[in-house]
């Protein structure tokens, strides 16, 4: 559990971090809270020559309410995200999903940007970002660019962020008045999701008017359950929600592991989608 020796550079600004990445070349690695990176280094699964610590860059920390959207700095800790009043009221599903991550110690160090940039298929926040059509701001040598959530997650542990780039912030459109819920299904309080379902719905006259659904750990990248979203429109009862949620497994080809084989994972996707939506909609 001792990593291969590496140089450590603490970046004070985005420019500073980019310069350090450029200087370090291919073997440089950014670090946010270190909660996913350090285990990888300690197991010697990766051996960067330099680790660029971006956990103290003021520009990428903090949460801003910008009217129609909430912009969260990539270096904001899970703890800060889940306790932020604007996030709690306008992005309940994000607050819920974040609160389900690991344990308090890890949530005090781990960052939203780190979790999204790491893009672990089991991670709880990426499907929220996908379902909510978040926008990612990425800085590189040539300046900043924005990437839509649909283009951000490219594969297991693969995103649109290049090796010489840094994720600066993530903007979430506000969903005021929407109900939200994150249904995490795991084996122990501090275990990763076997399947997770982020659901957020807008109700009109007791019926679902709009829904956004994202699934965790049903494939290499987070999954947007568009077919369920469409089928849910007009639903007002458990039976209707359950019927719509049968589409949650449409088009999925999940992997098998010790916790779930393919059949069980598909089953969980359907069942948990219905449960998550029902809770988000307040229908029981």
């Amino acid at each position: 559990m001792i990593p291969v020796a590496f140089d450590y550079k603490k970046a004070s600004s985005v420019q500073d971090a980019l310069a350090a990445l450029a200087a370090g070349g291919e073997d440089a690695k950014l670090m946010g809270g270190g909660q996913s990176l350090l285990p990888v280094l300690r197991l010697r699964l990766n051996a960067p020559s330099v680790v660029v610590d971006c956990s103290s860059i003021p520009e990428i920390k903090g949460i801003k309410d910008e009217g129609g959207k909430i912009v969260i700095g990539a270096g904001t800790t899970h703890h800060a995200v889940m306790n932020d009043p604007a996030v709690k009221s306008s992005l309940k599903v994000l607050a819920d999903a974040t609160a389900s991550v690991a344990d308090p110690q890890i949530r005090h160090r781990g960052t939203l940007g780190g979790a999204l940039a790491h893009s672990d298929p089991r991670a709880d926040q990426p499907p929220v970002a996908l379902a909510l059509d978040a926008e990612f701001t990425i800085a590189g040598a040539t300046g900043q660019r924005t990437v839509a959530a649909a283009d951000f997650f490219q594969g297991p542990f693969e995103t649109a962020v290049g090796p010489d780039e840094i994720l600066v912030s993530v903007a979430f459109p506000k969903l005021d008045g929407w109900g939200g819920h994150y249904e995490k299904f795991n084996r122990a309080a501090q275990a990763w999701s076997i399947v997770g379902v982020a659901a957020t719905v807008r109700m009109e006259g007791g019926k679902i008017a709009e829904a956004r659904i994202g699934l965790t750990n049903v494939g290499g990248t987070p999954h947007r359950a568009s077919a369920v979203e469409q089928a849910l429109v007009g639903a007002s009862s458990i039976a209707e929600i359950e019927a719509a949620s049968m589409h949650a497994s449409d088009g999925l080809s999940p992997f098998a592991d010790e916790d779930a084989d393919v059949e069980y994972r598909l089953h969980l996707a359907r069942v948990l989608t219905a449960r998550s939506v029902a809770k988000a909609a307040g229908i029981s």
């Binding site: 122990a188 309080a189 069942v271």
Partner: protein, 788 residues
């Protein structure tokens, strides 16, 4: 007939543990904290294959790395490559493969030790491992026990010609008796493989002390005394020149009841290099190199009359030894052998156990060692029999258990249970549980076809502990005894040393032993120091495992304390010019009967014994006394554990809603420590039922050898347990105590699993594999429904 007494003796106070301030404030030195000048750090190259020939090994690359002092494979180590001993040859023809500290030409499990490197710092040692050159020729691995013993199987140890370690038989007569039965129920239970996963990883430091010929070894062990003897025997270090110290040890659960190859290597290399050598395992190493527990296939058959009266029990075990035999690997299943009949009366009992080698990490003792397996089997099959007979499962138990007026009772397995009161513990548990209320709720959920079904799990267990009467161990071919030693010394200042041969690693002996001595010496607990786990300061002992420390070691403290008071009485009588019989001993002071003004406190007696200016003729100076106690018999704690289990039939997820346990551990020295042991044990047994299970693929690769996938529950996963106790004092020891270290872990696993099966039995389920993960439960329900 056993009388029930309450526990309100002088010993029964729930005082806070003396050792906790030091442990909780981090004011102690664990083995890994020990920093000796000139230390070299050892790192180990381990096999990535379950079975392979080492076709090439060259350690010289490591020698060229910075800060490296030495590197060894088996060839370089030569005569110092001692073998790891097994001290329990259970049968005359048991097969025992050679188990060298470093594998010689073949590796037999993932994690097998191939080579070591020593460097002046731990980082350099780990880095240097990568500079060694090693080639393997992979061989077919044998993982599954049934295929291992089928003809033509690949052999784990080619030279042994078989994968069968031993076959052990007990009893006979079941096949005849079963003819009288109306009902026979058979089940195959799987007691899965578990990893002890103690909090403090193993660590060992050995150093030539430079001021004598002594080598001192600090190691995170449960058994410093046994280890000293075995290290001396296998390494040739003279026993008198070897001192073993177990500093504060962060948990063991049987996993540190061992002589590990790493301990042998560190001792040998400290001697060879003439400087301190240190090794601390990583968690990744721990998961493959610390011995594992359980791993049995249990074919169980129970026979009864139609009214529920038991006729007999037949047990056929296959027990996975792993790749090698460690200290008591073959004996572990046999520790359970006597306990399959549990608390029940029956007329026949047949037992057979086949020990099997596979290309997996060796197994050995793990909290309960053999008794959790037997208790699981009997308590599970009792529920199955009840279902078959259409009887209420508690009724079936009541009908067959030993009545409180029948003690002492000799079971069909040949043990004599001294005391117990199953009726009382059960009545109390049913009341605390609201058994009837939950049965009503269960029925209504069933009737309404609720998505969440409720089940009630029962475990009315007993276990044998307090290892052990030396003669019994001898009869079982174990090579040592089971006695325990204590020396009590009153120092000239009046402070007391209680020197014990037990070796605590979390249990709170310093407090409990002080309470025992205090109750006899009348000296405050604060003025008593318990000296332990250092063969230099506490030379005699048989250490801590098998819930023996109080039931055996506690008796030695009582006896030594009483002998000390006897000696002090003679000295005090001489000082006070009366005869010893004329003295009362009250709160640490000798008083002349009828004239309490004439008195001498124990401290003053100790000072007189120290100066020796005025001792009676024939009395030797110094005030100390010792006792070495061999127990007359085991102790048999028992209890009734009840679990309310909710099963979400749609996802298979299981929730433990309520857990009640009423344990009878005899007289309690410290009820708070008892409760702590019960809590931890119950949680550990629940962990087997719901969370833990080490698995391998068919190539012998561990599938979950890390704490991210080998799940251990934590506080949020468990409800508050409702605990209570009853007390039938043991008659096999003068304090009336029974062991409690393993009871919870033994009892809770079947309670949980019975509860799960009870919740979904109406769906056609009659067994669920452990751990009962959501997928396992869901698949079981699907299969029962005749689905897929």
């Amino acid at each position: 007939m056993t009388d029930v007494v309450d526990t309100g003796t002088a010993l029964g106070r729930p005082i806070k543990r003396k050792e906790d301030a030091r442990l909780l404030h981090g004011q102690t030195n664990w083995t890994d904290n020990i920093q000796l000048p000139g230390t070299v750090h050892m790192a180990i190259l381990r096999s990535p294959f379950a079975h392979a020939k080492i076709t090439h090994l060259d350690v010289s690359g490591a020698l060229a790395m910075p800060n490296v002092v030495a590197a060894f494979g088996a060839a370089e180590l030569g005569d110092l490559n001692s073998s790891v001993p097994c001290v329990w040859p259970v049968t005359d023809d048991m097969v025992a493969p050679d188990f060298p500290a470093l594998a010689k030409d073949t590796v037999h499990h993932v994690g097998d030790c191939v080579a070591v490197v020593l460097a002046t710092d731990a980082v350099s040692a780990v880095d240097a491992l990568e500079a060694m050159s090693v080639d393997y020729e992979p061989l077919q691995a044998v993982v599954n026990m049934e295929s291992a013993i089928s003809p033509g199987s690949t052999l784990v140890h080619e030279d042994k010609g078989t994968n069968t370690c031993y076959v052990y038989n007990l009893g006979g007569g079941y096949d005849e008796k079963v003819k009288e039965a109306d009902v026979v129920v058979k089940r195959r239970f799987i007691n899965q493989r578990l990893i002890p996963a103690f909090m403090e990883p193993r660590s060992v430091v050995a150093a030539p002390m430079g001021m004598s010929d002594e080598i001192t070894m600090w190691t995170s062990t449960q058994i410093p005394h046994i280890l000293r003897l075995l290290i001396a025997l296998v390494t040739g270090i003279p026993e008198n020149n070897l001192r073993v110290i177990a500093p504060d040890v962060g948990g063991g659960f049987g996993g540190k009841l061992q002589i590990y190859r790493e301990e042998i290597l560190v001792a040998q290399l400290a001697r060879k290099l003439g400087r301190p050598v240190k090794w601390t395992e990583t968690r990744s190493e721990d998961m493959v190199a610390t011995h594992h527990g359980r791993d049995q296939i249990q074919d169980i058959e129970i026979a009864a009359k139609s009214d529920g009266t038991l006729v007999g029990l037949k047990v056929d075990l296959k027990a996975n030894m792993g790749a090698y035999l460690q200290i008591i690997t073959p004996g572990v299943p046999l520790l359970g052998m006597f306990m399959y009949p549990g608390i029940y009366k029956m007329d026949a009992y047949d037992f057979q156990c086949t020990g099997v080698f596979t290309n997996t990490t060796p197994t050995d003792a793990y909290r309960g060692a053999g008794r959790p397996e037997s208790t699981y089997a009997i308590e599970r099959i009792m529920d199955e029999l009840a279902a078959e007979l259409g009887m209420e499962p508690m009724e079936l138990r009541r009908k067959n258990w030993i009545k409180h007026e029948e003690f002492p009772y000799t079971t069909i397995a040949g043990l004599t249970y001294d005391t117990g009161n199953y009726e009382l513990a059960t009545a109390r548990a049913l009341e605390l549980f609201d058994y009837e209320g939950l049965r009503t709720e269960q029925k209504s959920r069933r009737d309404s076809g609720d998505r969440v079904q409720l089940g009630i799990g029962i475990s009315t267990f007993t276990e044998m502990c307090g290892l052990a009467p030396s003669r019994t161990l001898g009869a079982l071919k174990y090579v040592a005894g089971g006695w325990e030693h204590c020396t009590v010394r009153v120092l000239p200042t009046g402070k007391v040393e209680v020197i014990t041969g037990t070796s605590p690693h979390g249990q709170g002996h310093e407090t409990a032993w002080s309470q025992i001595a205090s109750s006899i010496l009348g000296i405050p607990v604060e003025d008593i120091e318990v000296v332990h786990s250092d063969t230099g300061r506490a030379p005699y002992g048989m250490d801590t495992y098998g819930s023996r420390s109080l039931a055996v070691g506690g008796q030695a403290i009582k006896a030594a304390s009483e002998r000390l008071v006897d000696k002090a009485r003679v000295i005090a009588a001489h000082q006070l010019e009366c005869s010893p019989e004329d003295l009362d001993y009250v709160n640490g002071v000798f008083q002349v009967k009828g004239d309490p003004e004439k008195a001498q406190p124990l401290g003053a007696v100790a000072f007189e014994a120290f100066t020796a200016h005025n001792l009676p003729d024939g009395v030797e100076p110094t005030l100390s006394a010792e006792a070495t106690i061999d127990p007359q018999d085991f102790s048999y704690p028992h209890g009734t554990h009840l679990a309310a289990m909710e099963v979400d039939t749609e996802t298979g997820k299981v929730t433990l809603r309520k857990y009640v346990c009423v344990d009878d551990v005899g007289v309690q020295v410290n009820p708070m420590i008892v409760e702590g042991q019960v809590h931890g044990g119950v949680a550990q047994g629940i962990a087997q039922a719901l969370y833990e299970g080490a698995s391998y693929d068919e190539d012998g690769q561990p599938q979950n050898a890390n704490l991210s996938t080998y799940l251990i529950p934590s506080a949020p996963d468990l409800p508050s347990f409702i605990t209570d106790t009853t007390c039938t004092p043991s008659t096999t020891n003068p304090l009336g105590t029974k062991g409690v270290g393993e009871a919870g872990a033994i009892a809770s696993t079947p309670a949980i699993m019975n509860g799960i099966v009870d919740a979904i039995r109406h769906l056609g389920v009659n067994d669920v594999l452990m751990p009962a993960t959501p997928m396992t439960v869901w698949k079981t329900i699907q299969a029962a429904k005749g689905g897929k």
